[in-house]
């Protein structure tokens, strides 16, 4: 029974595909899986938007949306209808083709990334050996669509937003990638399925999640920070910066194209949250051996939702960074810390003795944190500036 509940979607798929002739079965199963992913994540997106608006409201001592349906739960439906019925405006000077395809490029790229995430036991669309690399390749191509959107709009705010987005995403991709290298070093595999399987072991009833180890904890924290910057979430929402550059790269988008950007951003967030869950929080595995009867897919989506809640919490807390603070943080703090973290991961692999490697690992991480915090993040006293105008 427990086994059935855990594998319910896999069994359902096999049963459905069983009606088709043998030659079509493989294609049909892929099509069905894709359709399910494309349906489930926008639904999650609606839930996340509602959670965000209600949660942010509560953090600011407001009610949040409460007019459409009971407690405002139908607000995403109203938003969707509104964005579908709005006029689709293309600026006269815009590069119409690029302007049209850039939201599509974004949505396609973020959905491609979801293909390699194991969303439950045996629930992964494409099982490939280098799925981590595939995910990052797809994640990096969102930058292209952002720049396409900003450039094709022929609007200075859009272009500024796109420039900021590209600078920020490229800067934070380095620590994002480096923070995952520790996991790859210890697991010895780039396959996300193998990484989850390596974490589904229990000792004293507690799971061997990567986050419970010194290199994993440090890597996890840095992954969370870098993933916020990668998905343009507050406090790293400079590319959008509605108070400075209106909406950044999608200033000139309206109607459903705007909704697609919004969708792409949120699905990208789910993707990166799913990846972080897979790498550090044990993917679909339960934290305690006693709780392993709960279906694996429930664990995965619960962890992703928790991750999103944390993003919302941070958004409600922190103000937007300045561009120089953003770059300083990436290059002077995150990058050295991730490099030190590689050292910790190596130490974990080679030092003998359980206690010894814990103590050494924690000491290196804590020492580096304090040192980087003091030296790298030293507040600079800025004197009066003088400008010389071009003659």
């Amino acid at each position: 029974m427990i086994e059935k509940a855990d594998q319910i979607f896999v069994l359902l798929l096999h049963w459905l595909v069983g009606f088709l002739p043998m030659a079509w079965q493989h294609v049909a199963s892929v099509v069905i899986c894709v359709a399910v992913i494309v349906a489930v994540y926008p639904a999650l997106f609606a839930v996340a938007v509602l959670m965000e608006r209600k949660g942010l409201g509560r953090m600011q001592n407001r009610y949040g949306p409460n007019r459409v349906g009971p407690f405002g739960v139908l607000q995403p439906v109203a938003d969707g209808i509104k964005s579908l019925t709005k006029e689709d405006i293309v600026p006269r000077n815009a590069d119409a083709v690029v302007h049209f395809i850039s939201p599509l490029v974004l949505v396609v790229a973020v959905f491609m990334g979801l293909a390699v995430l194991p969303m439950g036991r045996n629930m992964v669309l494409v099982e490939m050996d280098a799925s981590l690399l595939f995910f990052f390749a797809m994640g990096a191509s969102t930058e292209l669509s952002v720049f396409m959107a900003g450039w094709s709009s022929r609007n200075k705010y859009s272009l500024l937003g796109a420039m900021r987005a590209v600078a920020q995403m490229i800067s934070y991709e380095v620590p994002l990638l480096l923070s995952t290298v520790g996991v790859v070093m210890i697991t010895g595999s780039l396959s996300l399925v193998d990484i989850v399987n390596a974490q589904t072991r229990y000792s004293w009833g507690l799971a061997h999640w990567n986050v419970f180890k010194p290199w994993g904890l440090a890597g996890f924290v840095m992954f969370v920070i870098a993933s916020m910057a990668e998905t343009n979430r507050s406090p790293f929402d400079l590319p959008e910066g509605e108070s400075e550059i209106i909406a950044g790269y999608f200033t000139e988008y309206s109607g459903f194209k705007f909704a697609l950007f919004f969708l792409g951003e949120y699905v990208g967030m789910f993707g990166i949250a799913g990846l972080g869950t897979t790498l550090f929080l044990g993917g679909w595995s339960s934290p305690l051996a006693a709780l392993s009867w709960v279906p694996s897919w429930i664990w995965f989506f619960a962890k992703v939702e928790l991750w999103i809640c944390f993003f919302i919490w941070v958004r409600g807390t922190l103000p937007r960074l300045r561009q120089d603070q953003l770059m300083n943080f990436a290059w002077k703090f995150l990058l050295p810390m991730t490099l030190v973290n590689l050292l910790v991961a190596a130490e974990w692999r080679f030092v003998e003795g359980v206690w010894m490697r814990w103590i050494v690992g924690m000491a290196i991480v804590a020492g580096a944190y304090v040192l980087m915090g003091r030296v790298g993040m030293r507040r600079e006293r800025l004197g009066p500036r003088s400008y010389r105008y071009a003659e």
Binding site: G55, R58, M59, Q60, N61, R62, Y63, W313, V314, G316, T317, L318, F333, Y369, V370, M372, G373, R374, M377
Partner: protein, 212 residues
Amino acid sequence: MLGEGILKGLAETAKNFAGSYVSKERLTTVQYPEERVAPIEATRDFPFLVYDGEDAFAGLRCVSCQICEKECPPKCIYIEKSKDKKPDYVGKPQNYPVRFDIDISVCMSCQICVEVCPFEAIKMDTVFELATDDRFGGLLLDREKLSKSNEYYHTIHPTEATEVDARLAEEKAKVEAKAKAAAEAAAAKAAAAPPAEPAVKPEAPKPTGGAE
């Protein structure tokens, strides 16, 4: 230590989040269509015409002197003067507005019409739910829509309305006393010399400063 402030901030927002479900004082939102804040007495938005008594036409204070029309900075008032006359509150025959239109889509609520009116005839209203689906007709208020009773004026601006009433009563008493004195003098004169002179006309009410 790096990150301390972030943790403090996260604790603060978490406190707000949880607190908003527990304590009602945190949620200061007034959910408008169902709940309302009690209006402040000095509120004002668009002008209206005051009338005394029951009949909106008979008791209308406006004598269509058109001062407000001339003074209105955005020119949102349109008045058509009558050819005939009707008695005002002291009984003196006066013109009245055949048409009195205020385009509230143009009106900027400056209250200058109220300041310049010598007859206490135009005052500021407090109704704000004037949304309409008729963009032109719905926002052009005519005389019938603008006329509101003195009792209504008392309910929205009690202090100001009482002052205005006192001023008008004083004015009326003065006029009546003068008329009485004139009538007495005329009677005395008529008694003294048979060829009677026409009675002295009662003076028009003096211009007052309007609302302070």
